[in-house]
Structures are given as C-alpha cells and as structure tokens.
C-alpha cells in the first residue's frame, strides 16, 4: 500500500498558481481530444499552449521544491492538496 507523508505546505498564492496550471493543462488535454488538424490554426495554438503550460507546470514544482527543500525519494511523487495547500510525498 502506498504511503503518504506530509513534507511541506505552500502559500495560498502559490497554490493558486499551480491549481490554475493544473486545470489549464487538463482543459488543454481534453480539448485536444476533440480538435482535429482540420481546424489548423486552433490546433497549432493548442499544441503550443499545451507545451508552454506543461513547462510552466513542471517549472513550478522545480521552483517550489528548491525553495522549500521538500523531502524526496527515487520513485516518489509529490502531491498537493488544493484545499489545505499541503504537499505530500507518495
């Protein structure tokens, strides 16, 4: 059974940032399922946006983990609870 350990907490502003990126990334992924290359311009915009959002998303985790020095393990993942701003290592 996976363990879950509280390793830190971010500020509400930092939480808002990652939550917006998380939701945007989900939205873009779901939009990608229905857009086709027929709508060339929109499709290209989407692909570019998805790339940028994913980059920003990853960058947030990198930035925060460096700032807060969260504990990590080799195959572990960090999770954030959007309600409490707590970060867990699983």
């Amino acid at each position: 059974m996976a363990t879950r350990k509280l390793v830190g907490q971010v500020t509400p502003e930092e939480r808002n940032e990652i939550q917006a990126l998380f939701e945007r990334r989900n939205g873009l992924n779901e939009l990608a399922k229905i857009l086709t290359v027929d709508n060339h311009e929109l499709y290209e915009k989407l692909v570019k946006d998805l790339g940028e959002t994913t980059t920003k998303y990853q960058s947030w985790w990198n930035r925060m983990s460096k700032q807060y020095q969260w504990e990590s393990t080799e195959n572990g993942n960090w999770e954030i609870n959007f309600d409490t701003c707590e970060v867990f290592l699983t």
């Binding site: 998380f22 939701e23 939205g27 873009l28 779901e30 229905i34 929109l42 609870n81 959007f82």
Partner: protein
C-alpha cells in the same frame, strides 16, 4: 472524522444550469418537478445561443470559475446534446481566451440508470477531469424503491429502480472516488434513514448528503420519530467507527447555534446568483422558478437568450437576506444555524407572490436534528477524549483526498 467534501472553489463558482429535458424514466414520489413531460427537450441551437449569450457578456459574469450544470428530468437521456454542447463550450472558452477556460466544471445529477451505457461512458472518458457526477441512491433497496419508481406503473405494480442503479455504483466510485450522494427524506422515509445511511457507507459512498424536503409534508409525530432514528444512527456511526472514513450531513458541528441578525444575515440559497435555462431559451434565477417546478405560482422568467437578462428582476434575489424573509420566531431561534430553506419552495408556498416569505415547514424536523446532532458530538468527543484521540481528530478533521498533481 471525515468531513463532507468541500464544494469545488468553495462554492464561489457561477452556476449555469441547462434544463435539457423534462423527461425521466422514473416518477419519484417526492419529486418537486410537478410538470415533467417528454415533449420539452432543449435543442442544440438553444443551448448554443445560451452559451453564446453568457460568453459574449463576460463582464456580467465576473466569477472566476463556472459550473455548467445539466439537469432534467434525467439529463443523461440527452447525452448526445450534452456531448455536443460540452464540446462547444470547451472550444469557445479556449477560442475566446475566456477567463473560465482555466476553471470550469460540468456537473450532473443523475438517477444513475444510464450511467454504464456506452455513450455516457465515452462522455466521461472524454471529460473526466472536469466532471462532477452525482448518482441519487436513496439508501436501502426498501427505502429507495419506496419512492424512486419507474413511471407508468399503478400502485399495485410499482417497480423500484434500486437494482438498476446499485449495479452502477462500483463503476461510479472507481471513476470518481471522492463522490457523494444526495438523499431526500420525506415523511414516509423516516423509518429507513438509519439503515439507509449505513447501507450507503457500506457501498463505499463516503459522503452522504441527506436532507428533509422543504415542502409541507410533515405529519404530527414525524419529528419525534426522526429524532429517535437519528439517535440510533448516531450510535451506530460512533460505536462501529464509521465516522473515521465517512460523513453524513445530518451531523455537523455548525448546526444548532443562534445566529446574529447582523453578522449572520446572508441568504442561505443561491437563487439569483445562478442562471437556469430551459428548452425555450428562457432564463430563470434557479430551476425552482421554472413552471415545471412550481405547484401554485407563475414562473419567474428573468430574460431569455435573445433579449438577455432583465437585471431588475434579479435585484430582489440579490438583495435577499436571512432576516428580511424570516418570521420573528426564526430570528429569535436559539438553534437557528443549519436550518435551511429553498427560495423556490418559499415562493411556491408563500401567501403572496413573493420570495420574501420563508417557509418553516421543516422547523420541527430541524429542531429534532439539532437534538440528535448535539447527542452525536457529545458522544463522539467523549469517546475520542477517553481514547486519547481528540487532538489527532481535531488535527485531521480537515483532511480530504488531495488531487494528484
């Protein structure tokens, strides 16, 4: 103890409700929708017009987030329409660079009968991370089938829907692990509430939102029976440890306190802050003000997809507060907190054509709930103290399942 899951975006999202159909496979006896029929179905054109209106008036909808709500009747009877309009919404939000693209949800309240069908499952797969789907299962088979019956039967041939709904629950829980169900209690259901809540917990539904109907259906003695069943439920939840992983809305630390007439004066109900749209493209402050929801009053139509919203008609809703609409006994009530109301039912039951007369049909039921609730928390706290678990309980009680991100 687990708390009921928090509302998405702390309840601050704009709710836009599409009444996609008035048809339903069921004829639930407590259903407030007195005008259900199979004729009135929303067309794609009307739905699109409604979406265009909302998105074209971005300044009139400043909320940071939106919940696009699809109701009926039974909304999944119109899954093709829903699929199409949801795709349209997502595309338009993106194309317009609308601020809601980063914060939206599609919400459904379903009887669960069609949940497993290929079309519904495909829709879920396509939109998984933006979905909130509630299946209504009323408890034990006995309780569920008492009211949630297929339409078309007569009293000797009533067919309950429990068996067809319960088979979809495991799939639903796998797909949406943190979901809850909404259970409605009317007079005839009271004897079954204890077993029903526990049954739902045992099915794996950890969040049970269970409430009495607001309509004046209560008989003499119902409150006493309700209280005794709640006390039994409290005992089982605590003695058998259900409280650790499950939440039932009957028991909340917030209810049963007096309310300050100035500091706690906000309206309970969100009518006026949401927008409901019917098949004809009419706008309502809430679905409860549509004709098919009203027994005795005319609907309150605040506009339509062509002419927009008449903001003057929204003013009374947005000015509503607790004390202006409540009788003195409610303002003076020492256990007022948690006593709810529905603006639509208030309007329907009022002596005049007003939304400013609060119905108090559930007064005795609320008071019974308060007494049982007090018993529950006194017993639970004492148990936790004796077990040395009180501190940990206080520390953990806000925990909810994190989003994996």
């Amino acid at each position: 103890m687990k708390e009921l899951s928090r509302q998405w975006k702390e309840g601050a999202a704009k709710n836009i409700t599409f009444i996609v159909t008035k048809d339903c496979q069921l004829a639930c006896k407590y259903c407030y929708l007195v005008g259900k029929n199979s004729r009135e179905r929303m067309s794609y054109e009307v739905a699109k017009e409604a979406v265009d209106y909302v998105l074209n008036h971005e300044k009139d909808f400043p909320e940071k987030s939106v919940i696009w709500d699809f109701i009926g009747g039974e909304p999944f009877l119109e899954i093709d329409l829903i699929d199409r309009i949801v795709d349209y919404i997502k595309t338009e939000l993106y194309m317009r660079n609308h601020h809601w693209f980063d914060s939206y949800m599609f919400s459904f309240s379903t009887n669960g009968l069609n949940y497993h069908t290929e079309k519904v499952q495909k829709f879920i797969e396509k939109n998984k991370s933006h979905l909130s789907i509630g299946i209504t299962i009323d408890g034990t088979k006995q309780k569920h089938d008492l009211n949630r019956i297929y339409k078309g039967g007569n009293s000797s041939k009533e067919r309950g829907s429990y068996d067809d709904v319960v088979q979809n629950i495991p799939l639903w829980l796998r797909q949406f692990p943190n979901v809850g169900t909404k259970v409605t209690i009317s007079s005839s259901d009271i004897p079954y509430i204890k077993d029903s809540v526990i049954h739902l917990f045992s099915l794996g539904i950890h969040n049970v939102s269970i409430n009495c109907v607001f309509e004046d259906v209560w008989k003499e003695g119902d409150d006493k029976l309700f209280e005794s069943l709640l006390l039994e439920l409290a005992d089982i939840i605590i003695d058998d440890g259900w409280y650790e992983e499950n939440a039932c809305s009957f028991f909340s630390e917030m209810i049963g306190k007096p309310l300050d007439s100035k500091k706690n004066n906000q309206n309970w109900c969100g009518a006026g802050m949401m927008l409901a749209i019917d098949a004809a493209g009419n706008f309502y402050p809430c679905t409860r003000f549509a004709a098919y929801s009203l027994r005795s009053k005319k609907p309150i139509i605040i506009g339509n997809v062509r002419d927009g919203i008449n903001k003057n008609l929204l003013r009374p809703f947005l000015s509503l507060d607790r004390t202006t609409q409540s009788p003195q006994k409610c303002i003076d009530c020492e256990v007022a907190s948690g006593c709810a109301w529905c603006q639509g039912e208030n309007y329907d039951a009022a002596r005049t054509n007003t939304i400013y007369e609060r119905s108090t049909a559930i007064c005795l039921m609320h008071k019974a709930r308060v007494r049982a609730n007090n018993y529950y928390w006194n017993k639970l706290y004492r148990k936790l103290e004796l077990e040395g678990m009180r501190e940990e309980f206080e520390k953990n009680k806000r925990e909810s399942r994190p989003f994996i991100c």
